[in-house]
């Protein structure tokens, strides 16, 4: 457990290092999720409209 404690404490810089990584995850995951959700929504709507036209 000592090594885990050592890792999490980041040599005393935990309160600077972890927020930096957390924000990176939030920004990148946010873009990825929003991108996929919008893509699927547009795909669905476009497929529905094109089906009706045929």
């Amino acid at each position: 457990m000592d090594s885990l404690d050592h890792f999490l404490s980041m040599g005393g810089y935990a309160r600077f290092v972890w927020p930096a990584y957390a924000l990176a995850v939030i920004v990148l995951a946010g873009f990825a999720i929003e991108g996929v959700v919008t893509y699927r929504k547009n795909r669905r709507e476009l497929d529905a409209v094109e089906k009706k036209r045929r």
Binding site: G11, F16, A20, Y21, V27, L28, Y39, N42, R43, L46
Partner: protein
């Protein structure tokens, strides 16, 4: 180039490329994060706080790279009136703003323990903040017009004027006295950073770049589908 940029052609090749870009992104960011947190050594002066670099430097590089992509797309859209170039510029902007925000905040989190200040008004930091406002201004301007083509033209002109900021960011650490450290990777005479830190950093940079390409393709495909949807609905209204 112009052939590949035809909207239908774009949908074809981007659909094939997208899954590979996504896979590359996941692998690069996975390996990069592992190396940044577990393999890379602590710095002899900065200790473990140096691990912020593996987020800060890639997001800083992407913040200016994405702006360059946006400016080139804007120029192509202005000169050839190309709809796909226009969409490329428009969909790059939020991603660039995200990278710039990440760069500014992680820089702040790194600056506090190393310089003793969250923020200083020096040339590098100020020009990067200006870049952030350029992105926000571009996004606001493009969406400010009822007619999308007019918004796109106004945005394109703003994006091109803002290019002047890129060399200012790049050379700010040489032109002015600054707290920010000078270039340590892309310099004459080779990198001054140790290989044990350079490798994880390069993998993270590639991971961020792959992420940008993946998301840009995804967002452009979304935007093209939305445009097609609008056109079909407009036809239906006119036919009715």
């Amino acid at each position: 180039m112009l052939r590949l940029a035809n909207p239908n052609r774009f949908m074809q090749w981007s659909g094939k490329l997208l899954p590979w870009c996504a896979i590359a992104t996941v692998i690069l960011l996975g390996v990069g994060t592992y190396m940044a947190l577990f393999v890379a050594p602590p710095d002899y002066q900065q200790g473990e706080s140096v691990r912020i670099m593996y987020i800060h430097v890639p997001s800083a590089m992407m913040s200016t790279f994405v702006y360059a992509v946006m400016a080139v797309s804007s120029a192509v859209a202005l000169i050839w009136r190309h709809p796909v170039a226009d969409i490329a510029a428009r969909e790059s902007a939020p991603l660039g703003a995200g990278f710039t925000l990440l760069c500014l905040v992680t820089g702040s989190l790194w600056g506090k323990p190393m310089w003793g200040a969250w923020w200083v008004w020096d040339a590098r930091l100020t020009s990067e903040l200006v870049l952030f406002f350029l992105y926000l201004g571009y996004i606001a301007l493009v969406n400010a017009f009822d007619e999308p083509t007019r918004g796109a033209r106004a945005g394109a002109i703003l994006a091109l004027v803002g290019v002047i900021n890129l060399p200012i960011i790049k050379f700010s650490v040489d032109w002015w006295n600054t707290l920010h450290q000078p270039e340590s990777i892309f310099r004459l005479g080779g990198p001054t950073i140790a290989p044990s830190m350079l490798w994880p950093l390069l993998i993270m940079v590639l991971g961020f770049a792959a992420f940008f390409v993946t998301l840009l393709l995804l967002r452009m495909r979304s935007a093209l589908m939305a445009a097609k949807l609008r056109a079909i609905r407009l036809q239906q209204i006119e036919a009715a």
